[in-house]
């Protein structure tokens, strides 16, 4: 493989730009790095299905948008229940014990294999 290596060059006053003219021969140039500020899109997508979907809408949109769940394939009820429990055990999702079964049931009914 080709890895280009260069000797160090003193940096000029313009701290974050790499003055091309000063770089030694063969130096891979660096682009000027400028501060950035962006806005990330938000999702308004909800779990469909009215009252049945309420526990999912209340508990499953805190850390990721609904697409994380709705784009999943059909999965067994056991897998859905394991996913909900994983969110609680691993990621510390603040989901009440009483909501686990209804969420798993809703997901198994709308995206289930059994």
């Amino acid at each position: 493989m080709t890895i280009r290596t260069v000797a160090g060059v003193l940096l000029g006053a313009c701290a974050l730009a790499w003055p091309l003219a000063h770089a030694s021969a063969g130096a891979p140039p660096a682009p000027a790095l400028r501060s950035v500020s962006v806005q990330l899109p938000v999702s308004k997508r909800m779990f469909p299905g009215g009252a049945e979907a309420a526990p999912a809408n209340a508990n499953c949109l805190t850390c990721h948008s609904a697409g994380m769940v709705l784009n999943q394939p059909s999965l067994s009820k056991a897998t859905w229940e394991a996913e909900v429990k994983k969110m609680i055990a691993v990621y510390k999702a603040p989901i009440a014990e009483k909501d686990i079964a209804p969420i798993a049931a809703y997901l198994a009914a709308t995206k289930g294999t059994d």
């Binding site: 160090g8 500020s37 990330l40 938000v42 990721h64 510390k92």
Partner: protein, 386 residues
């Protein structure tokens, strides 16, 4: 702003077994053009496959995006940004971007960045996780300083075993395990692992890790920590969730096991394996009997170069060696091209197979594991010959 819905010009429908393959094409993400929307928050954006036909380097604005946690800084001030190096070192460092740009020994090379779960949507039986088709990968020319130079400046103490990397992204809910990845000290000091500040000659898009990210050539993307701001040298093995539990594969050939199989030893995912794709002919395309066509695509060797690409126009009965394009380095995508004269009408299977310079060949049966990692089965594109 609704990513996808308001801005979507069109959608794609990936042919995943069991369906749920429809995805919007979104254009509302900063620094990104049209991308396949896998998830808005935190962003999971897939490169539309036609981009791979345009050349071996994936443009920055089409490069796939993958974050785990939704608290991603949306502003980075290049004056105040600092990279901290600490732990089992003689001299902890706090490096500004100016310090990093001024370091000697700058390097540049092409390398494929591929998600461990690229192509997960094709697993059968399906498994939970990001439901990617084949576009959670990209190839770029990366420029930066060798990690080794930074570690040497800090002075790694005898007895150090691993180097752990952390970025500026944080979980939404306190208590979720912070996303961190580790490499062995020897790997971290191999002179190739890079702290990159440029991608295809430009600053990294924020969503690809501005201002600096780790580049671990030949290894899956999970190690390429974005917005890298903390390097900790450990005198004990890292046991954090993202190394010990997540991103682990069966320690078996092709990371393969049976659904439901228990007691399989698991290890952290590591080196990539070879893959190859046809990029100019789509699944279901129509070809004319007797009309010669040029079939082309990309291949990569994984942790070593592409030694050979073979093409079959008859479902794998006969294979011919494809012609390889320019060698951009052993970690890069490489173009390949073959010629086909369809000789039989009906549905034909075009197949492509890469062998890397270490002699590893793509398998002809798909692997399976519960996390949907490391797919590299020989790809098949069905065409109708009329």
């Amino acid at each position: 702003m609704a990513a996808g819905s308001a801005f979507a010009a069109k959608s794609v429908d990936f042919p995943f077994p069991g369906g749920v393959g429809e995805r919007e094409i979104a254009t509302g993400f900063p620094g990104k053009g049209a991308m396949v929307l896998q998830r808005t928050r935190p962003p999971l954006l897939e490169t539309p496959f036609e981009v791979f036909d345009q050349g071996v380097f994936t443009p920055n604005d089409r490069f796939f995006v993958r974050w785990h946690y939704a608290v991603i800084p949306t502003s980075i001030d290049v004056e105040s940004f600092r990279l901290n190096v600490h732990g089992a070192v003689d001299k902890p460092l706090t490096l500004s971007l100016a310090d990093i740009l001024a370091m000697p020994g700058r390097i540049e090379y092409a390398a494929v960045n591929q998600c461990s779960g690229n192509s997960r949507g094709f697993f059968q039986p399906r498994v939970p996780g990001g439901q990617w088709a084949n576009g959670a990968m990209g190839n770029a020319k990366w420029t930066g300083v060798p990690l080794k130079a930074v570690l040497d400046r800090a002075g790694v103490k005898a007895g150090a075993v691993q180097v752990r990397f952390n970025g500026l992204d944080t979980p939404v809910v306190a208590g979720s395990p912070d996303f961190m990845k580790s490499l062995s000290v020897d790997h971290a000091r191999d002179g190739e692992v890079m702290i990159a500040f440029a991608m295809n000659g430009k600053p990294l898009p924020l969503l690809n890790g501005f201002p600096v990210r780790l580049v671990v050539p030949g290894w899956y993307s999970t190690y390429w920590v974005k917005m890298l701001n903390d390097i900790e040298i450990l005198d004990h093995p890292d046991e954090n969730f993202w190394i010990k539990t997540a991103y682990t594969i069966p320690d078996t050939p092709h990371a393969d096991m049976k659904p439901g199989q228990t007691g399989v030893p698991m290890v952290p995912i590591n080196r990539m394996v070879p893959r190859s794709f046809v990029t100019n002919i789509r699944e279901g395309a129509k070809l004319r009997l007797g009309n010669p066509v040029t079939v082309r695509g990309i291949a990569f060797g994984g942790d070593s170069g592409v030694a050979k690409v073979e093409f079959s126009g008859d479902g794998g009965q006969k294979w011919e060696t494809a012609q390889l394009g320019k060698d951009e380095g052993k970690y890069s995508f490489r173009r390949w091209e073959a010629h086909l004269v369809p000789r039989t009408t009906g549905v034909q299977a075009l197949m492509v197979r890469c062998t890397n310079t270490a002699g590893v060949v793509q398998p002809d049966t798909p692997n399976w594991n519960p996390a949907g990692f490391m797919r590299n089965v020989i790809e098949t594109t069905h065409v109708s010959v009329l």
